[in-house]
Symmetry: C2
Subunit: 418 residues, 2 copies
């Protein structure tokens, strides 16, 4: 099955909106063992949408479009696709009722014409219900097993529709069960080292698809061979042996998730004290459902006065060493474990930029501290890149470092708390 994606919207082309929908869809398809053959993004323009559709259909089994199904005059996907496929659009009273129900439940009123436009269905198309918005998805089967699928653009509508409606239908059409790619995530190892280790570990196995994706703190190795699940199993096993504890458990998508699993298992609670990351570490923790079981809270002490008053950092320490220093971060860690009763702790102070750098402590200088029962450490990081980069890499390193500290300091009778 050859799959192509067409994203529609000026806001994507002019960079106002990041195309996270296409990335999400690509992930879901990869999980099914399907690769996206071609992805294109076109403006809110009738001819451009129709041309992209016909081009994609020339080589694809399934074409998925994203966006342009709303009620405003720059929402053109429905009419462009219907015209390109030669399918007239018909009013669909059931869809119109569903839209009116949705609007009534939310206490929103829109013009009747806006309802009617979103309830138009191309002849012969199936309707994919949209419980999270107004415009439904549309599934148009064509000759020779091909299909065009129209999906709404708002991510809160798009993602549930992909998961609940599109993926089950695509899975049912796959000729046989294709083996999904295997994924091994490696924490805290450089991409080039991951690649070298991977190639060495798989040397005497038959060739299979290998791809690497490096993000701060975590490199993902993706193994693909849709027809040979045994080979995939063997290769994954080799990689997990080669990387040992650097490999995350298969169920963990990130070092942060693994930290959460370990903390929950050991009955430990985490708190953070953040300066340059400004709450990003706590935000990443609380992005994980269920984190309330192992995360108590954070003190974002952006002003030095807060570090003094609420994190017990001595004014003398701040004056002598500066807020970005080993002793200050060490004091922040102490405050978390003593005053805030944290079992595990992360503390951070750094120069994220663009201003604030000095010759001794240029932009990118970050002191990162972690504490687990029976152990505390503070390290200096020298991070490259923009303010956003420095902050993101600090967050990544915080979880990588806490994870290592937890793994190298397992519970002992002396420090067992649960």
């Amino acid at each position: 099955m050859i799959v192509s994606i067409i994203s529609v919207g000026n806001e994507l082309l002019n960079g106002d909106t990041l195309n996270s929908n296409a990335a999400c869809l690509g992930q879901r398809l990869a999980d099914l063992g399907l690769a996206v053959h071609h992805e294109t993004c076109v403006p809110d323009d009738h001819a451009a949408i129709a041309e992209a559709l016909l081009t994609a259909l020339a080589t694809s089994t399934v074409v998925l479009t994203i966006g342009g199904l709303g009620p405003t005059r720059d929402d053109l996907t429905r009419t462009a696709v219907a015209q390109a496929l030669g399918r007239p659009l018909h009013d669909n009273p059931a869809v119109a009722n569903a839209i009116r129900d949705y609007l009534r439940r939310r206490g929103v009123a829109i013009p009747a014409e806006a309802v009617r436009l979103q309830a138009l269905v191309p002849e012969g198309a199936s309707v994919l219900p949209n419980p999270n918005g107004t415009a439904p998805g549309l599934w148009c089967d064509l000759e020779a097993g091909r299909a065009v699928v129209l999906l709404p653009g708002p991510p809160g509508e798009f993602i549930p529709m992909v998961d609940d409606e599109v993926m089950p239908r695509l899975r049912a059409r796959l000729p046989a069960a294709l083996a999904a790619p295997r994924v091994v995530r490696v924490a805290g190892v450089a991409e080039s080292v991951v690649e070298a280790t991977t190639l060495a570990a798989l040397r005497d196995l038959p060739p299979l698809g290998l791809a690497y994706c490096a993000k701060p703190g975590c490199v993902t190795v993706r193994l693909t061979d849709p027809l040979h699940p045994d080979l995939l199993n063997a290769a994954e096993e080799r990689l997990r042996q080669a990387f040992q504890t650097r490999a995350l458990p298969a169920a963990c998508a990130s070092p942060a998730e693994h930290v959460g699993i370990i903390l929950r298992q050991r009955g430990l609670h985490l708190a953070t004290a953040e300066s340059c990351t400004g709450g990003l570490i706590a935000a990443a923790v609380t992005d994980l459902p269920g984190s309330s079981e192992w995360f108590t809270g954070a003190v974002v002490a952006y002003a030095n006065a807060w570090k003094e008053r609420f994190l017990d950092v001595n004014a003398d320490l701040l004056n002598r060493h500066g807020a970005v220093s080993q002793p200050v971060v060490s004091a922040m860690l102490d405050s978390l474990t003593r005053r805030y009763h944290a079992d595990a702790a992360i503390a951070v102070s750094g120069v994220a930029g663009p201003g604030g750098g000095t010759p001794d402590k240029p932009v990118g200088t970050v002191f990162l501290g972690v504490a687990v029962p029976g152990h505390a450490q503070v390290m200096r990081l020298d991070l490259p890149g923009s303010r956003q980069n420095v902050r993101e890499r600090t967050v990544a390193m915080a979880f990588v470092t806490l994870r290592e500290a937890l793994l190298t300091h397992p519970p002992t009778p002396a420090n067992r708390t649960a």
Copy 2:
């Protein structure tokens, strides 16, 4: 000038990496008054890259490629483009020296062949220096004023090269100064209302390009007409009059930025108390450079024990009303202004999901409080969508609401602090 973008990389198609580079490039081009005609994303495959290039060249003046210039075996853009254009690749000793210099400065060693591959230059192409990485950019002028430009994929290399090398060259090629699009951002108004107001305000002006982009809390209206700057000025003026204080000042990219400007002007300091947003509001604040001038800190009180101990929420209030309630958020606000000496404050407690909902307070129920000198308010929000959506919309609403409170409560002699 018709511009197209080709992004190269399996990691983009399978969703491992968000295509932030293409969005960034689209923004820069829009600022020049240029629209991206077509954007496509192809796998690490020689034939796919060549085909996408020839397709794009059939309709474009300038084709920009992103990625695939590195040294590994899946970096194929350089050879695919050279072959498609019929330009042999030549070793370039100056480029090889620059790469070796870069590696020496960073204390990194890579094989000589990896240096040589990245120093290959298509015949007749200009080299765009890359001070932030190894592979340089390549600018290939073709007949009839057309050009193909190859750019590296890592954002830390790509963005500076776009700003320092690509944009100046493109600007120099524009026949006359094109008027950049005008942008009016409207805070806290539904997209359909923004559209209706816009159409009414511009009714008696000549037609011009109009596009809307809705994000939680803020709708962007983009006005385009590259040849008629006076019309753009008149239209922008009409919109700003129509939306009054709902329109953000031109220099503000978001309600949060405007909040920062107002707080700095009035000499006020903000603090936040967050439960379900888990630090996201503080993280959004500290994402703005210079926020240390007006932001002091945040208490992320995820556990109820933290709300009691560190935000002075009475245990009795928690028991009677629950953590997600008007009285608890009101107490959190009080604590910020009293114990933490905040002039302006945001407090939030809600059910982000997926668990934790009750019939009275289903997933998406959020109590949001804001305080400014002389005024405090707590409102209930009922937000749709996933955990991520609920959190993001809460953050957006926090800034929209604080902004409105600041604008409707200007400094008075009684509450002036600066």
